[in-house]
Symmetry: D2
Subunit: 328 residues, 4 copies
Amino acid sequence: MNSFGTIFRVSIFGESHGPWVGITIDGCPAGLNLEMADFTADLDRRKAGAAGTTPRKEEDEPVFASGVFNGKTTGAPLTILFANNNTRSADYDALKAVPRPGHADFVLFRKFAGHNDPRGGGHSSGRLTVALVAAGVVAKKLLEGVDISATLVEAGGSADISAAIEKAVALQDSIGGIVACRATGLPAGLGEPFFDSAESLISHAVFSIPAIKGIEFGSGFNAARMQGSEHNDVITNAEGATATNNAGGLNGGITNGNELYFRVAVKPASSTPREQVTWNNSSNSMEPFTVKGRHDLCIALRVPVVVEAVTAFVLADLLLRHKAMARA
Amino acid sequence: MNSFGTIFRVSIFGESHGPWVGITIDGCPAGLNLEMADFTADLDRRKAGAAGTTPRKEEDEPVFASGVFNGKTTGAPLTILFANNNTRSADYDALKAVPRPGHADFVLFRKFAGHNDPRGGGHSSGRLTVALVAAGVVAKKLLEGVDISATLVEAGGSADISAAIEKAVALQDSIGGIVACRATGLPAGLGEPFFDSAESLISHAVFSIPAIKGIEFGSGFNAARMQGSEHNDVITNAEGATATNNAGGLNGGITNGNELYFRVAVKPASSTPREQVTWNNSSNSMEPFTVKGRHDLCIALRVPVVVEAVTAFVLADLLLRHKAMARA
Amino acid sequence: MNSFGTIFRVSIFGESHGPWVGITIDGCPAGLNLEMADFTADLDRRKAGAAGTTPRKEEDEPVFASGVFNGKTTGAPLTILFANNNTRSADYDALKAVPRPGHADFVLFRKFAGHNDPRGGGHSSGRLTVALVAAGVVAKKLLEGVDISATLVEAGGSADISAAIEKAVALQDSIGGIVACRATGLPAGLGEPFFDSAESLISHAVFSIPAIKGIEFGSGFNAARMQGSEHNDVITNAEGATATNNAGGLNGGITNGNELYFRVAVKPASSTPREQVTWNNSSNSMEPFTVKGRHDLCIALRVPVVVEAVTAFVLADLLLRHKAMARA
Amino acid sequence: MNSFGTIFRVSIFGESHGPWVGITIDGCPAGLNLEMADFTADLDRRKAGAAGTTPRKEEDEPVFASGVFNGKTTGAPLTILFANNNTRSADYDALKAVPRPGHADFVLFRKFAGHNDPRGGGHSSGRLTVALVAAGVVAKKLLEGVDISATLVEAGGSADISAAIEKAVALQDSIGGIVACRATGLPAGLGEPFFDSAESLISHAVFSIPAIKGIEFGSGFNAARMQGSEHNDVITNAEGATATNNAGGLNGGITNGNELYFRVAVKPASSTPREQVTWNNSSNSMEPFTVKGRHDLCIALRVPVVVEAVTAFVLADLLLRHKAMARA
């Protein structure tokens, strides 16, 4: 399904080399100020160009197809389009002959009986994250007083991220990283267990971002090695403030008013300049293979703003659901 | 929301000390053989009684309220009830005075303005996992040729799980653990990105289980430390078999026909016998506090069958969605 | 799908002769007073016993399986069960041989490959409306200041309903009727077009009631014969009051603050005492056939309270959705 | 909500005078042939220009934003855009002063606190039906062997539609009409009661079309005046063929293999050239009022193709859901 959310509901569409990618937000309240300039900062954070990212120029100009009038949201579905400029043709039949290791070429071909758009990853491309970021910009407007901040805290196994990227450039091999996300200013009570715990919804959204392999909240995998007396966050006042934050700001799947904290593992991009050996359907044998084109060596650099965006639309949805349930 | 799934859709209800907990499966195909004996093995795996678990006797007898006739599913909603025998009264007002550290007491009280059923954790209780296990039994019936197996691979930081539990008993403190889950026999093509990647749906379901703090697929958090040439799983034949399984059987959020593999972090139970110091709303100060009652020291022992169950109903749903899309 | 609603969401289950029928309400706000006595009046209105209805005694005692504690809703799913007492066996194989005209026997057998529970109509039985009525009682609690009232305004083509029923008894043939439903006290603004117009949701819910053949809002089918200058309801004050109500209280699918008004056509029960001639699969020919058992001659008598109930849960859901969108 | 459907799911967006209106189809199987020419016939049927419709020229050129590659659907979301050419400015503040009788001006202003796009009806405009028709064209491709045909059978109360329109032109007043829709070639078994009966879903979709006031299936409102022995459709062979079709091809909310038949009431357009008297917020009194611009005198002429379209996407969704449930 290409939609997500209960009230604040996003629907994504587009392929990497098709005419447009876009996103529709259904359930966006009317009257939010919204102009193109609101998108610049987050779209820039996602852009290629830094060391370790591709030198491609992507013009990411949001087009409001619907839902905005006189600089405000109308309450009708808000659709934001991004034109794709990248329409160069290429020999994508090659992908059928040699499905790239670590890519979705093989599974997409199987799933869609060969009808998927193979150009640039099609609908599975990282290109679509531009639309997620745009939805995140709108969602953040609903989260007054909430600050969401995701940063890359580790790349290629090192906290010295610049050094890690230099090394990747030297080795000409892609690297992964870890993104930490924090949200402050959240009220206690967001989350709709049993199934829509805040962790359930955040992880659902985060795993829709390409290249994510893991997520952990608060103490995460370390929790498995702790004792209960160590792990429990002692409450220190009537508002539920805690002395530690092993819980990551969540108890029983519901925000507790402390900082929401989680970490996300990003794998190295499958498109590495290094030569690989893989199956070739034409020769029916293993053969050397090199990915063509210019690709990010450290896609993790571009992930934080996307993690922020999906976190924002999960929280915006939970906030609206919470409002619906409040007693007069 | 207490429902999950698109076609094979489960809806859970019940509180720990209320009259019944139960689950309704909507979208279960007609004609599956189903009898009470089918549930015994998985329900027994979830039961208390082993070292490190509570000595409570829970009678987990499934009652078919609807959807079964002459030993087969009818195609109508299948509702399975479990009676709660545990209806002893207790001083739950104490929880308002002293919200237990690491528990959901505080957030539930806030979220529901004090109206939640506080007895035994209410709707947030681990008791509800009995209903998940029951739904898992039905889901597994739809997954012919698929084998799902979850096991506890680490407890209290050690792979020697018996030793870890002895130590927890000696220390009288709860411990966590790590559950690994594998599914074999899956066809390539299951998963519905953009938002309903297999990882998105599995993590969504897994984080609905109480006490889960993290999930990682394939190489997981280690992927963040690997290079692309290392991480990519080389394809070795036309059916998409891979030499390694860093992907955990998933590319682009879609099963690739190799083994599905993920790991889950379980925190130590919040209810530890150890004395803690926490906020007391009556005295408006920090005070010593001890959780009453008998509780599992290693709840992780009971988690594997629940992880299997939720994985089964995610996969059953994806399989039915896949069938709907297949061309004649 | 056996669930309906976005926030206030009902899920129905049960078969006519199975152990239980029931309904789960997910998204019911916490803190509503709820006790068994609240259900008596509406359940009695639905009961059999009056002239033209069956003399069966149905004990409709609601059982709160979950979601109620200390006489109030807890915010967790609210499940209400009704035990079925009617478990007499019967020769339901006969239905496969002679599918009853006007019944769902044939289509259910086809749809579920013969696995549906055929006893008393199974999941398609009017028996399930007891669960709808129960959900309606809860929904009405959310609609403070709103009065929903459905009445039978025509039976067997006559506004003199007693006379019509006497005639049906004399002829020993079932008759249909028309139910009119009015709701006053609704705020302007309820309805979520494009697809979730109030008419869309109300008609969706109403057509889930067995035996409904038509619905019209305001002037309804007469509107097709009117001119625009006649049909338009002139607005007479700043609050949107209108001089006439051809719109039925709805413009553009949204309540306008005037009385919501619609009418529903109920067909005569398929189970008529009259002998019919129909296909017999055993003899492969048309043969005379008589429905066995005692059945309502005018099921329309029992429909108004069910129409009220489904209207109530549509409006409760729309009200909660409206609250979610309101700006602070 | 602006989405509809479970598997074949449409999401609509756009305002009458915004840059684009469009529709996204999620859950469209891969490999359907699709080109612009496929849309011409149905889009032309919807167009203005005939007597009784507006002389406006609307260029309805579908733009495939995503989901089509090499003339086939890709399995990814299929988004179709239509540019709006009508961007002339107008004095829409007047609508706040004098909400037009029979229009949604008043309720939209209330619902969206004045932020809705008022130009040409905004998101509530009949303009959006161009997107419904486009989705219908795609849905029809999934319905091989099924023929859906909707026609205007009555206008202004008369079966002589040309005469009715001449009269409307002479009177300069808008008129309504009745659309009959038939679908043949449907298999028995489509429909997902309890809540998703075929009637529930069709009526839900039909009432999303502007100006619809009523719907009736088979004998419809006449059923309320019939006796059971008259109304029951006698089955005449083992395939479930019936001698009459009072059921409209549906029993228990499920298709029975006979012709699906329903009728829809279309009200006269609220925009009539006739002078009206209505509330004026500026003068705080009732005042004469005339709608400006050129408008259709008989919008019902343009409704049949829209009714076909929404029926097609309901049936396509039901067919895919049915496939999912079929046993191997």
